[in-house]
Amino acid sequence: MQLDNHRPIYFDNHATTPLDPRALEAMMPYLKEEFGNAASRSHRFGWTAEEAVENARNQIARLIGAPVRKNDRGKEYTQEIIFTSGATESDNIAILGAAEFYKDKGNHIITVKTEHKAVLDPCKYLASKDYDVSYLRVGTDGLISLDELRKTITDKTILVTIMWANNEIGVLQPIREIGAICRERGVIFHTDAAQAAGKVKIDVETDNIDVLSLSGHKMYGPKGVGALYVRRKNPRVRLSPIIHGGGHERGYRSGTLNVPAIVGFGAAAEIAMNELEEESTRLKELRDYFWSEISTRLEYVELNGSLEHRLPNNLNASFAYVEGEALMMKMKDLAVSSGSACTSASLEPSYVLKELGVREELAHSSIRFGFGRFNTREEVEYAVGVVINAVEALRQMSPLYDMAKEGIDLSTVNWAGGH
């Protein structure tokens, strides 16, 4: 297959997604003539910007099943969506904001060891400030145990924060059941749905969600914009702000709104909602085809995490006896990512894979594939060949592969020491 300008094929759609041209088109007027500040009440520029923002709010509310009401002039509006700079900020407002607001009620927070750093780090910060944080473990499939969650909730628990879909392995937690447990125990439930939105159906009512984080650029919208859903009824959730200023976004998040990005995010949410079913089916077919080819044509390949409870577009696999960074260099026609230490600044392999019980050498050998809206069947077929050739070529120069072929159990070898 002919590559476009020698650019690799993009299979890293968990890192970010390209902007959908339809979202860009919706943004254009607000990058040019409609430049008004949505908070300006005294002229047409402000009103136009505000109307565009409110429309985007409704589009996002619909994607996640949040209520969109009509005012007495028949105009639709929603009060549950707050715009932020992205899912990291949304997670921070949810966690720090709930901790601060409910500090008289309790000081205990529950999360999971495989969460994104945007959740783990605010929790770590709170743990340094007289809060207690419990970290639930996951099984080899990447899923938490609902029983362990039930046992971990105490009368001091104020917040449970558990991501919907994991960013590395795409594993989907049992959100509705988690939400039901939290509802029953009167604990606020926050979920980071940055990876899940637009890929699996979300309904904050039936899924029992109180607070939910979203990111624009993970769903073919622009970067630098995100949202936070905050339930207003049954129960009413309150959060203390972490950014103080002009009282924008009903005081939850001050700062002039990024109108063009919000408009693009809204358009992306509407497209995602309309195309969710068809797109998820198509991506799952591509992913399943890819995995079936790779896992039958190569030996010593292991899937990381549950295949059943997984995003339709995610694959995370370890190619034993081959190191992840070298494999990515060999597959230079493909843009993917790895859980190998050599690709991280910390020089530690993926903590997510470690929590699943994946052995360290297999974590070094892991590759994450994220299929997306703009990937074609032809690209995926091409990628199968690239992966197989690269793995086979590197195994030909891997001393570990030779040892495995000789029947040596690598775990019994007394290694001379590494670095």
Binding site: E323, A326, C342, S398, G418
Partner: protein, 129 residues
Amino acid sequence: MAYGNKVIDHFENPRNVGSFDKLASDVGTGVVGAPECGDVMKLQIQVDENGVIKDAKFKTFGCGSAIASSSLATEWVKGRTLDDALKIRNSDIAHELSLPPVKIHCSVLAEDAIRAAINDLKEKQTVKV
């Protein structure tokens, strides 16, 4: 990781990939690193009757710079006496390949592999005598 041209060249066209019979009396084998650390290098040298390294081979499990460092090491040891080969420093390898600071350990491993291979050969030859 954005590497320099020399790492890319050694990675894409690795020199001297392969194995010698590790039981042969004129072959020294060094295996260093550990799988859980993400790199294992096997470097082998073959010497002539004057103790000069006439050929070298490697196999490496590791990142691009680990593969490049071992490939370069096999090139550099060829034609040297054992004592001369021991003079190759990791800093020379790192400099030649313009390795970024986080990849210096790959050059350290390559130096260790050379030393391990030479030690193995010397032990074999001592036993023989």
